[in-house]
């Protein structure tokens, strides 16, 4: 992670330290890309199936005579699949979770031109719940994190598919405790 660039893209407060940045679990993008690749290879499977089947002579002659047209259609199909894969990859990579010593920044790239950036101050966070449901999430250790904020102006947040949610929960908890300690010290320092 290039932190200099991170600071340029997201304005951090003075002396704010990035503790960790998290993306969704790799298994989620792997599943999405695998489905798209299989979808892209459908015409190839069709041609392979035709080779093992007895097809009418007209179909065979069409394939033999219209090869450029078939290549054109195949390329168009693969191009659409590549665009679908690029969209999926963009959604995965531009979704980001940043934990700093003062707040949690949740960047949600929902679709193109639909981007949501939310800030949750650590001192206003209350309950943090982690849930890991299902066989694959349990085996690969990814799940959902929910948190409630005390502030009326900030919404509660929920993030799906985060890797090692329990580890992340303890990191948030530690950062929250540290933040509350720092805030408690500020008036004392001012009095001195």
């Amino acid at each position: 992670m290039n932190n200099k660039k991170l600071y340029e893209k997201i304005e951090l407060e003075t002396d704010e330290i990035v503790i960790t940045t998290v993306r969704k679990h790799w298994f989620l993008i792997l599943i999405e890309l695998s489905v798209i690749i299989l979808f892209g290879l459908v015409p190839v499977f069709c041609f392979m199936a035709i080779q093992f089947m007895t097809v009418p002579a007209s179909v065979t002659s069409f394939i033999m005579t219209q090869t450029p047209l078939i290549i054109f259609c195949l390329s168009a199909w693969l191009l659409m699949s590549t665009i679908a894969a690029a969209t999926s990859w963009t959604g995965y990579y531009l979704d980001l979770w940043i934990l700093t010593d003062r707040r949690i920044i949740v960047i949600d790239q929902i679709t193109y031109f639909n981007r949501k950036v939310s800030n949750f101050r650590l001192e206003r966070l209350q309950d943090i719940n982690v849930s890991i449901r299902g066989l694959i999430p349990t085996l690969l250790n990814y799940g959902i994190i929910r948190a409630q904020t005390a502030s009326a102006s900030e919404n509660n947040f929920i993030s799906f598919g985060l890797p090692d949610p329990r580890g992340l929960q303890s990191q948030i908890q530690a950062a929250m405790d540290a933040r509350l300690t720092t805030i408690e010290k500020i008036p004392d320092a001012a009095l001195e």
């Binding site: 992670m1 290039n2 660039k5 991170l6 893209k9 940045t21 090869t67 450029p68 047209l69 290549i71 054109f72 390329s75 168009a76 693969l78 191009l79 590549t82 665009i83 690029a86 990859w89 963009t90 990579y93 531009l94 980001l96 960047i107 790239q109 193109y112 031109f113 981007r115």
Partner: protein
Amino acid sequence: MENIPHLALPIKTIVTLGFYLFVIIYLVYSVVFYYHWQNYSMSKAASTATYIAYFSITLSLLALMGLSLLAL
């Protein structure tokens, strides 16, 4: 049914129009794609790798479409 004008375009014209439509959609999508990665990516290395993968695959496929169109 007899009053409906019968439009018979040769296959090459239809494919050529389809190709131009594809090129327009591809260009618009690529601009949107580039804009997002340029503006929102946190890592220059990841952006560069993504650009290389995306443009090398898609431009090759587009070139293949153009060449097969010429061979029609």
